[in-house]
Symmetry: C2
C-alpha cells in the first residue's frame, strides 16, 4: 500500500549547493591553503584584541610593565603550540569533523556533550559579539567621527550579516581568500615596518593622562594578563570541525592547515608583542592598540587606512563563521531532541532560519548589554572557549585509550597534557575574571544544560505517549459510524456563505449552519434572508447572553462533541488580493479558530474565498 511517485520531469530540479558540490566530487573542496583562507579568520582575527587585552592588564602596574607583554605572549604561544599539536590529533581521530559536541557525545557521554553544547552556544554568540565590537572599534580608530556610535555600527553590521545568512549566500573559500591574505599581509607589514622605525611615525587617539600604577608586577598580575591574552587563541578549533570539507587526503590537508594556522598566529602574536615593547605603546582613548601600532608604522596615510579596513573586514568575516556554526549546532541538538525541533527545519533554501534568527537576537542582546565594548566581553568569551578545548581533548584521551592503537599512549599523553593545560587555563580565567563577568557563565552554562536536558526528557515523554516508533492500534472502524457533524458559522447570506455550504456538502455529513444572536435586529434580517434563500440546510440561531460569538460557538461545539461525536467547524474566510488589504478581512477568524482549537475537540477547517 505504499506508492512512490516519480519526480515530475517538468519541475526544475533545484538541488542545494552543498549537495551539488558533494556530487561533483573533490573539485570544490578545500586544499590546505584554501582551508587556511576559509577557516583561519576566526582565530587570526583575534590578534586584533588579544594583545590589547594583555596590555590593558599590565598597564595597571605602570607604563614600564608593558615590557612584560613579550613573556606573557610567549606563554600564550606555548599553549598555542600544545593546542595545535592536540588538534592535529583531533583531526586524525574524527575525520568526519563535528566539533566538541560531536566528540563529547561520542566519547564522553551525555553530561559532557550537554556541557560542550552549552559552552559552544555561548562561544558562538560571543564570537559574533566580540568580533563585531572589535571590528567597529577598528573602523572607528581610522574614522574618528564613528567613535560615538560603536553600538549602532555593530548592530548595523549584525543586521547585514543576519540578512545575508537568512538569504543564504554560498560561502566559498575563494571569497575569503582575498580578505584573509590582505589581513595577514597587513599585520606582518605592521610588525616588520614598525620594528624598523626607531620611533612612531604618528601617534593617534586621545591621551589618557599620566599613568598612575595601581598594582605591581607579580604572579597574580601576570596570570591576569595571560588569562586576558588567551582570548587570542579562540578559533583554533575551527579547522578540526570542518575536516570533511577538505580534498583527499582530507586528514593530512587539514593537519597541514592547522599547523599553518598555528605558525601564522604564533608569528603575529609574538611580533605584535615585541612591537608593543619596541614602541612602549600605552592604551589611548578612541583608538585600538592595533591601530596605534599601525599608525606608528605607517603614519596616517593610505597604508594605515588599508590596514584598518583589512582588520575590520577580517573581524566581520570572523563573526560570519558563527552564522555558519551555531545554526548547524542547533540543528544537531534538535535532532537529538535537546532543543525545539524547529531548529532542525530548513526552509526552501538550505538555511536554518530559526538558528540564524536566534543567533542574531542573542548577539544583539549581548552587544546592547555591554554597549559594544570588547573588553567587557573577552573574559566570558575566553572561559567559554577554553571549556570547549578541555572537553574535546579529554574526549580524545578516552578515544585513544578505547582504541589502543599503535602509539596510543603518546597520543593520549599529548591530548591529556593539552586538556590539563586548557583546564588549568579555564580555571585561571574563571577565577581571575570572575568579578568581571565570568560568573555569568556559572549561571548561563548550567541553565542551558538544564534547558537541553529538560527538553530532551519532555520529548521522550511525548514520544512515549504518542507511541512514536511503535505501531499504533489500527483505526477502529465502527460498522455504522455516526456521520460527522459539520458546523458552518454564518453571519450573513452572501457568496461566502454559499461557498461554505457547497464545500460542507462535498464533505458529506450532517450539516448545520449556526448564527449567534449578538444583535436581535441583524439576526432577524438573517433569518428572513435565510428563509428566502432556502439553501436546504437548517440555520440554528444560538442565544448569546454574553454577547460573545467566540464563547457561544465554543459552548455549542463542546455540547455537540460531548457524547464523542466527531465535529468539524468549517470557517469560510475572505482572502484579500493584496497583503495590505488583509487586516480588513476576517476580524474574528483567527481568534475564533484559535479558541475552537484550544477549547474544543472539533476539527477546524478553513476555506479561503479569494477576491479578484
Amino acid at each position: 500500500m505504499v506508492e512512490t511517485l516519480k519526480p515530475d520531469p517538468q519541475e526544475p530540479r533545484i538541488v542545494d549547493r552543498r549537495e551539488r558540490r558533494r556530487q561533483r566530487g573533490d573539485k570544490y573542496r578545500l586544499t590546505a591553503l584554501g582551508g587556511l583562507a576559509a577557516l583561519s579568520l576566526d582565530a587570526l582575527s583575534s590578534v586584533a584584541y588579544g594583545p590589547e587585552a594583555i596590555v590593558l592588564v599590565l598597564v595597571a602596574a605602570g607604563a614600564a610593565a608593558i615590557s612584560w607583554t613579550v613573556p606573557v605572549a610567549l606563554a600564550i604561544a606555548g599553549l598555542l603550540l600544545v593546542l595545535v599539536l592536540s588538534y592535529r590529533q583531533v583531526i586524525a581521530a574524527h575525520p568526519d569533523g563535528g566539533g566538541s559536541y560531536a566528540v563529547a557525545k561520542k566519547d564522553l557521554g551525555r553530561g559532557a556533550s550537554l556541557l560542550a553544547a552549552a559552552s559552544l552556544v555561548v562561544d558562538y554568540v560571543l564570537t559574533v559579539a566580540v568580533s563585531l565590537a572589535a571590528g567597529a572599534a577598528s573602523l572607528a580608530s581610522a574614522f574618528p567621527v564613528l567613535a560615538d556610535h560603536l553600538l549602532l555600527i555593530t548592530l548595523i553590521g549584525l543586521a547585514v550579516l543576519t540578512v545575508i545568512n537568512l538569504v543564504g549566500v554560498a560561502e566559498s573559500a575563494k571569497v575569503l581568500m582575498g580578505p584573509t591574505l590582505l589581513f595577514i599581509i597587513a599585520i606582518f607589514a605592521v610588525i616588520v615596518v614598525g620594528l624598523s622605525r626607531s620611533s612612531p611615525v604618528a601617534v593617534i587617539g586621545v591621551d589618557r593622562g599620566p599613568i598612575v600604577p595601581t598594582d605591581v608586577i607579580g604572579i597574580v598580575l601576570l596570570l591576569k594578563a595571560f588569562a586576558a591574552g588567551c582570548s587570542a587563541l579562540t578559533g583554533v578549533e575551527a579547522i578540526a570541525n570542518a575536516v570533511p570539507s577538505f580534498r583527499t587526503p582530507a586528514v593530512r590537508r587539514a593537519q597541514h592547515t592547522e599547523v599553518g594556522l598555528g605558525v601564522l598566529l604564533c608569528g603575529m602574536l609574538l611580533g605584535l608583542a615585541v612591537l608593543i615593547r619596541h614602541h612602549h605603546t600605552v592604551p589611548r582613548d578612541d583608538v585600538t592598540l592595533l591601530a596605534q601600532l599601525s599608525a606608528a608604522a605607517f603614519g596616517t596615510g593610505w597604508p594605515f587606512y588599508l590596514t584598518s579596513l583589512a582588520v575590520t573586514a577580517a573581524l566581520c568575516l570572523a563573526a560570519n563563521t558563527s552564522f555558519g556554526g551555531l545554526p548547524v549546532l542547533l540543528a544537531l541538538l534538535a535532532k537529538d531532541h535537546r532543543v525545539a525541533h524547529l531548529f532542525a527545519l530548513r526552509s526552501e533554501r538550505p538555511v536554518f532560519r530559526y538558528g540564524v534568527a536566534a543567533l542574531a537576537v542573542l548577539a544583539a542582546t549581548v552587544l546592547i548589554i555591554v554597549k559594544a565594548e570588547t573588553h567587557r566581553l573577552l573574559p566570558v568569551y575566553a572561559v567559554g572557549v577554553f571549556i570547549g578545548f578541555t572537553i574535546s581533548q579529554t574526549g580524545l584521551v578516552r578515544h585513544w585509550r578505547g582504541q589502543r592503537g599503535p602509539g596510543w599512549i603518546r597520543r593520549a599523553a599529548l591530548n591529556g597534557f593539552g586538556a590539563i593545560l586548557t583546564a588549568v587555563a579555564a580555571v585561571v580565567l574563571l577565577v581571575e575574571k570572575f568579578t568581571e563577568g565570568a560568573w555569568l557563565l556559572l549561571i548561563i552554562v548550567p541553565a542551558l544544560i538544564i534547558l537541553f536536558a529538560r527538553t530532551e526528557n519532555y520529548y521522550r515523554g511525548v514520544a512515549e505517549q504518542l507511541s512514536f516508533g511503535r505501531i499504533p492500534a489500527l483505526p477502529a472502524q465502527s460498522p455504522d459510524p455516526e456521520p460527522m457533524l459539520i458546523v458552518v458559522p454564518v453571519v450573513a447570506v452572501s457568496e461566502v456563505t454559499a461557498r461554505a455550504l457547497r464545500t460542507a456538502q462535498a464533505m458529506s455529513g450532517e450539516i448545520v449552519a449556526v448564527a449567534a444572536e449578538i444583535d436581535p435586529a441583524s439576526t432577524r434580517r438573517l433569518s428572513h434572508q435565510w428563509k428566502q434563500w432556502d439553501p436546504g440546510i437548517p440555520l440554528t440561531v444560538l442565544p448569546c447572553p454574553r454577547r460573545s460569538l467566540v464563547a457561544t460557538l465554543v459552548g455549542y461545539v463542546r455540547n455537540q462533541t460531548r457524547h464523542g461525536r466527531q465535529v468539524t467547524v468549517l470557517l469560510a474566510q475572505v482572502e484579500a488580493h493584496h497583503w495590505w488589504q488583509r487586516p480588513l478581512h476576517n476580524p474574528r477568524g483567527p481568534v475564533l479558530a484559535a479558541a475552537l482549537r484550544a477549547r474544543t475537540d472539533a476539527v477546524i477547517a478553513t476555506l479561503e474565498v479569494r477576491l479578484d
Copy 2:
C-alpha cells in the same frame, strides 16, 4: 428552516455592565451634578495648561505684557459663553448624543462626517498626549527629581491607562466625583488664597534669567495669545456626546450640566488670569505656571503638594476620557465600513480592544516625537478641537433650518454665530500656529479622510463581489458528486497519525496519506512501518527534489485540485499541555497551513491531538 435555541439554563448569564445598568432603569444614570463629575474633567483640567500657554506667548513682549493675560482670558471666556449656549442647543437637538461625527453624518453628509471623524481621531489622540504630558509636568513641579524623566513618566502613565482600559473597568460617576471635586476646590483655593497674598509666599522653579522682549504688544501677539489660550476650551463638547447617560429628563439635566461646566471653567480661567496679573508671574524652568501660582498662594507645605496631586489626577482622568471615546468612534466608523471591521469587535469583555490598542500606540508615538513637551502639542490640539466645534454647530444650523420649529431662526442664529466664531478661531489658530506644527494637520487630516474613504470604497467593492445583502444562487448540488479527496500528510507512524486517519475516515471521502521524501532513509523506515501497520489507507511517497516539504505538498495539492476536485488537507497537530511547551511542537504546522491556504484551493482542516 430557522431554529432558535433557548439559552442553556445551566450556563451563567453574564450580562455586560452597561446593559444591566440599562435594565435597572434610571437609578444608575447621571444627575446634573453626577454629570459634572463624570464629564467635566476633560474641559476643566485644561486650565492646567491654557493660562500658561497665554503667558508663554505674552512674555515675548516683556514681563509687563503679562498683564494682558486678563483681557485675553476675557475674550476666551466670551467664546466659551457662545460655545456653552450653542452646546445647550446641540443637546436639545441630539438627545441621543453621538458627538460631531454622528451630527455631521446626519445633517451635513459624507464629506463633513469624514472631516469630523478625522479631526476627532486627532483630538482623542492629542487629548491623551497633552493631558499626560501636562500631568507629568505637574507632578514634576512638586517633585523636582522627576523633572528629567517626563517622557518616561508619561509613558508609564499611558501604559497603566491602556491596561486598565483593556481589562475594562466600569467607569462610574462616583469614582470621578472625588478627584473632580478636589480639583475644583484646589483651583479655586489657589485663586482665592493667592489673591489674598500681597506677595508670593514661595517662589519655586529655576529662574530663566532676565526677560528680553523680542516683540511688542499688538494685534498679532494678542491673537497669538488668544489662539494659545483657546486650548483651555477643549473638552466642552463631552457633555453633549453623552446625553443618554443622564436621568430623565436627560436633556434638561445635560443642559444644566453644560451651564455648570461653563460657569466653573469661566471662573477658573478668569480667576487664574487675574492671579497671574496680581503676582506678575513669569514662566520659570522645571515648574508649571499653575504650580508657581499654587506655591505663591500656599507656600510649599502640604496644600501645595495636595494641589499638585489633584491637578495630576485630574489630567490623568482627562486622558482616560479619550479611552472611552476613540474606541467607540472607531467602532462607529467600522460599522460604516470606514475603518477595518476589526475595530467593531468586542472581545468577551465589553471593550473595543483594537481601538484601545490603537489609541495607546498613537499617543505613545506622539509623546515620543514631542518628548512629552505639552507646549509643542497645544497648537495642533486646539486647531483640531475647533474644527470639531465648527462642524457640529454648522450641522445644527442645517438641523434647525430643516425642522423650522418655533423659534428656529433664533436658534440657528446662535449656532451660526458659534460656528462662525469657532471657524474664525480655527483659522486664526491654524495661521498663527502654522509653523509650530499646525501644518501637520493639513497632512494628517486629509490623509485620514482619504484612508476612511478608500476603506469604505474597498468594502463596497468586496460586498458587491461577494453579493452581501443579495440572495446568492443556491449551492449547486450535482447529482453524483466526486467524493472529496482527503490528504493526510504523514511524517511517522504514531498515535497522531492514527488519530488523523480515524478523523479522515469519519469525514468520508477518498483518503490518501502522503509523505515527502526529504531523507531517503527515514522514508524507507516509514514505508516499512506503514506496511507492517497496514491501516487500510494507501501511503503515497512524494519525491522532494527541493527538499522542501511545503513546496512538495503545495505542488501535490495543486495538482489534485487542478480539475476542480474538492480537496481537504487534514493536519494533525500535537497540542502541548502548557503554553510554554508549545514552541516544541508542530514546527512545520503553521508554515505549512499558511502556504496551503495561500497557494491552493484546498480546505485546510486541523486536528489537535492533546497531550496529557
